[in-house]
């Protein structure tokens, strides 16, 4: 993309094509011979990482779309079926869902890098603006993608975000109706979001081509911020940049795989495992972590229209950066003041992200306002001012000089970069954790689960006992509608044989039909049938249970959580603690107290539970000592029942957990090997260049 190339293939067939369509020359001049500054550091590998992430998202997205049903009644279920039934469906979904977070994580680093090294300055203004456009498109795509699973957070996130447009004077309501295709969020909304979510990534890919084109015309910026002058300042893209990028990508994949295989729900919200319910808003509506800073800005401003303008303004302002900062020196390395303020700005952004996940009350609001002012002041006051008053340090004469000067302290830079990356990642990633359900009473005690940790496996005995508890106790009120009888014989499950599962199924009466006479009839269950639900519909369930419909249990341990708080959520990231749900469910089953504490006003028809949010639960104490007989000698106590049934429900919530952790181990062994090899290969290749 940088002018005609002198590349000529030798093969006559290729020559023939090349004369008519010089595509090989284009590739060669853009990705092989292209001169790249020799002093680029690892922050520059994020361009390659982002290209990879776009590819990964498009590929997994196209595949998921083959199995997904964009219909308000079926979307949630179809996502569950992808995860449960499609070959490697759980893997593809985990990649796509955490891939979105990784994509944003990488883009933020890429943007901060551009900010620090002045990559937006003359002659790269258009390059930068194209980047801002890509970022905007990514936000739109990410938002619409989050709506597709049609869980509670999907639904209410969509409601809140689309309602932003109602702030527009005069036309607000009409715009929102237009977006919804109805009088509220519903099936038409879901369908159009699906269509656009499929379209936008290809638009992004198109703008990325322009972005790369602009990059190859202006040339890459570099840490020194001086343009390459002689041959000595650059190295050819291949193999130098290619190898370095590949090593960077490989390191990033290790980080990515940690989420895919070990922490797939760490960045998600437990509430999104509850199907969308237009009648109940979750206690805390929190967007995905990558929108949190802007969400915090929105909430800091007490006026609706002003808040929305501030939020969009916070993004749009980036496009004006080349003109707000008119300093001649590009790299903040040589701008002592700009450098300090840059890091302060990073802290402000992370702070805003943290606040975006907190409830909008008290001190959080005040700090949010201060940080919002700081955010805008950085762009509107500080940068213009600095470019006038700051005295930059002298920049090196050439890139070659820069390389010579710093070859001594290289490893230190790299180590600090890695540490900064890890801390930032943990912080960003963790900030959303705080948003989880808040009003819980006591924190459930942490239990020891056989399935926790990287090598965790389900305890088969507990699964079988838990199934018995479910069947004899829970099933009278709670469905298990995503679990089929055949699943009882699946690998990684309770360990029954196919014949045992079939025998178990045949004890159930399943409604089938219509037959040739047009009548419904009952027949014995087959392995392909799903656990029948105790009530024919939600209304019936509600009436029979004092107004509160007993939730389906298939996903319960993943759909319930409690606040971990700082710094636990950071530690959880490294210890792979993912068992908030099971801890809560097990605690709830044992948390009944005969008498509510003095002063607690227990409503009629409710029971007091230590761990239930608000303490007044409609479900009577379900388990009592000796209620279920175990044949394997395990104690017939409430504690044992609770533990067993929770283990069983964890399996129903994630039937492929063992496969996930096993594959994760293999992938990690492979990736570590590849990363080490790439590191040495890169070192070998670069040995010539220094």
């Amino acid at each position: 993309m940088s002018g005609p190339s002198d590349f000529q293939p030798t093969n006559p067939a290729l020559k023939w094509i090349e004369r008519r369509l010089p595509i090989m020359g284009l590739m060669h001049s853009s990705f092989v011979a292209y001169p790249t500054p020799r002093n680029l550091n690892y922050w520059w590998t994020f361009g390659a990482i982002l290209s990879l992430m776009l590819g990964v998202q498009i590929l997994t997205g196209v595949i998921l779309a083959m199995h997904y049903t964009p219909h308000a009644d079926l979307a949630f279920k179809s996502v569950e079926l992808i995860v449960r039934d499609v070959n490697y469906g759980w893997l593809l979904r985990n990649i796509h869902a955490s891939g979105a977070s990784m994509f944003f994580f990488a883009v933020y680093i890429h943007m901060f890098r551009g900010l620090y090294y002045g990559s937006y300055k003359e002659p790269r203004e258009v390059l930068w603006i194209l980047g801002v456009i890509i970022y905007l498109l990514m936000m739109a795509t990410g938002f619409m993608g989050y709506v597709l699973p049609w869980g509670q957070m999907s639904f209410w996130g969509a409601t809140v975000i689309t309602n932003l447009f109602s702030a527009v004077p005069y036309f607000g309501e009409s715009i929102v109706t237009l977006l919804w295709g109805g009088y509220s969020i519903g099936n038409p909304t879901l369908n159009r979001f699906f269509s656009l979510h499929y379209l936008l990534p290809f638009v992004i890919a198109g703008v990325v081509v322009l972005h790369v084109w602009a990059l190859h015309v202006a040339g890459q910026n570099n840490p020194a911020g001086v343009e390459p002058k002689t041959e000595k300042d650059t190295v050819p893209f291949t193999p130098y940049a290619t190898m370095k990028d590949m090593f960077g990508v490989s390191c990033f994949m290790l980080f990515f795989a940690w989420f895919i295989f070990y922490m797939p729900n760490y960045l998600g919200d437990a509430d999104n495992y509850n199907p969308a319910n237009p009648g109940v808003t979750p206690a805390h509506i929190v967007p995905e972590w990558y929108y949190l800073p802007f969400y915090a800005i929105l909430r800091s401003i007490p006026n609706k229209l002003a808040g929305v303008i501030a939020m969009f303004g916070a993004i749009i302002i980036l496009a004006f950066l080349p003109w707000l900062d008119s300093a001649k020196t590009r790299s903040s390395k040589y701008r002592p003041l700009a450098k300090q303020f840059f890091w302060m700005f990073v802290v402000v952004c992370i702070g805003l992200g943290y606040l975006g996940a907190q409830p909008p009350e008290g001190i959080y609001v005040i700090v949010g306002r201060i940080l919002t002012v700081c955010y805008f002041a950085y762009f509107l006051i500080l940068l213009p001012l600095l470019s006038r008053i700051e005295k930059p340090r002298p920049v090196p004469n050439s890139i070659a000089d820069d390389v010579l000067a710093k070859s001594g302290r290289k490893s230190a830079t790299m180590a600090s970069a890695v540490i900064a990356l890890l801390v930032a990642g943990g912080l960003f990633a963790g900030s959303v954790q705080d948003a989880r359900a808040e009003d819980h009473g006591a924190s459930p005690p942490g239990q020891k689960w056989s399935f926790s940790g990287p090598f965790g496996k389900f305890d088969r005995g507990a699964l079988q006992r838990g199934l018995k508890v479910y069947k004899e106790v829970c099933s009278s009120c709670h469905g298990l509608s995503y679990v089929a009888f055949r699943n009882l014989a699946d690998a990684g499950g309770p360990g029954y044989s196919v014949a045992q599962a079939a025998a178990f199924a045949s004890e159930y009466k399943i409604k089938d039909g219509p037959n040739d006479q047009g009548e419904m009839f009952e027949r014995p269950g087959r392995p392909a049938d799903y656990f029948p639900s105790p009530f024919p519909n939600e209304q019936a369930a509600r009436v029979a249970n004092g107004g509160a419909a007993p939730p389906d249990l298939s996903l319960i341990p993943k759909a319930r959580s409690y606040k971990r708080g700082f710094p636990m959520f950071l530690i959880d990231f490294f210890t792979q603690y993912q068992e908030q749900g099971p801890d809560y469910v097990a605690a709830l089953l044992q948390g009944y107290e005969d008498k509510a504490p003095a002063g607690f006003n227990l409503p009629e028809g409710s029971y007091y539970n230590k761990y239930f949010p608000g303490h007044a639960i409609k479900m009577p104490k379900p388990l009592n000592d000796g209620q279920v007989t175990y044949d394997d000698g395990s104690p017939a106590t409430v504690a044992q029942y609770a533990k067993d049934v929770t283990t069983f429900l964890m399996w129903t919530a994630e039937p492929h957990m063992e496969a996930r952790k096993q594959l994760g181990l293999q992938v990690f062994v492979f990736l570590i090997l590849l990363t080490v090899l790439l590191y040495f290969t890169k070192k070998k290749v670069w040995a010539n260049a220094h």
Partner: protein, 176 residues
């Protein structure tokens, strides 16, 4: 790329490059596997393809029914004496796809013909009791099958396939 520093250890360098390339290639190949495997029928589809039982009692002589198994139409014909005789009279060697009628039905249940009703030409559904041989006639491109579901005329290359099935009792079969 051949400079003094790397020429010192040519073999070690080459080994490193080859090893890295090989490991990367293995990784790429392993990545393709789940991406392709997901296209196969999923677990619920496979479970729904379990064997089905069909009650033959209501099917009168000379009648046939169509049932679905794994999304495919299965014809079950209760053949008349005349139809059976016609199917057995013809010289097997004269057929385009030689197969005797006895091979295509279960011994002792000669009146029952069970075939997958998908034309072996290009997949249309032939109409029962039509065509010159009183068997099946495919309207798409004119293939004609006889009372044993064997191809007699037209572009179809082979006989209508017989699905796997067994007699559970005299009046009940299990397909699959």
């Amino acid at each position: 790329m051949t400079t003094a520093s790397s020429a010192d250890h040519p073999t070690r360098r080459d080994f490193l490059f080859v090893a890295t390339g090989a490991v990367a290639a293995v990784g790429a190949a392993a990545t393709v596997w789940p991406l392709v495997s997901q296209m196969n029928p999923d677990a619920s589809t496979i479970a729904a393809g379990a064997p089905i039982e069909v009650d033959l009692a209501p099917i009168a002589e000379g009648q046939d029914i169509k049932v679905f198994w794994r999304g495919k139409p299965i014809y079950i014909s209760h053949r008349t004496k005349k139809q059976i005789d016609e199917a057995r009279k013809v010289a097997v060697s004269s057929l385009p796809d030689p197969e005797s009628d006895e091979q295509r039905v279960k011994a002792g249940h000669d009146q029952w013909l069970v075939v997958i009703g998908i034309c072996t030409h290009l997949g249309c559904i032939p109409i029962a009791h039509e065509g010159a041989y009183d068997g099946f006639f495919c309207p798409c491109h004119g293939s004609v099958y006889d009372t044993s579901g064997r191809i007699r005329q037209g572009p179809a290359p082979s006989n209508l396939p017989v699905p796997p099935y067994t007699f559970v009792s005299d009046t009940k079969i299990q397909i699959g």
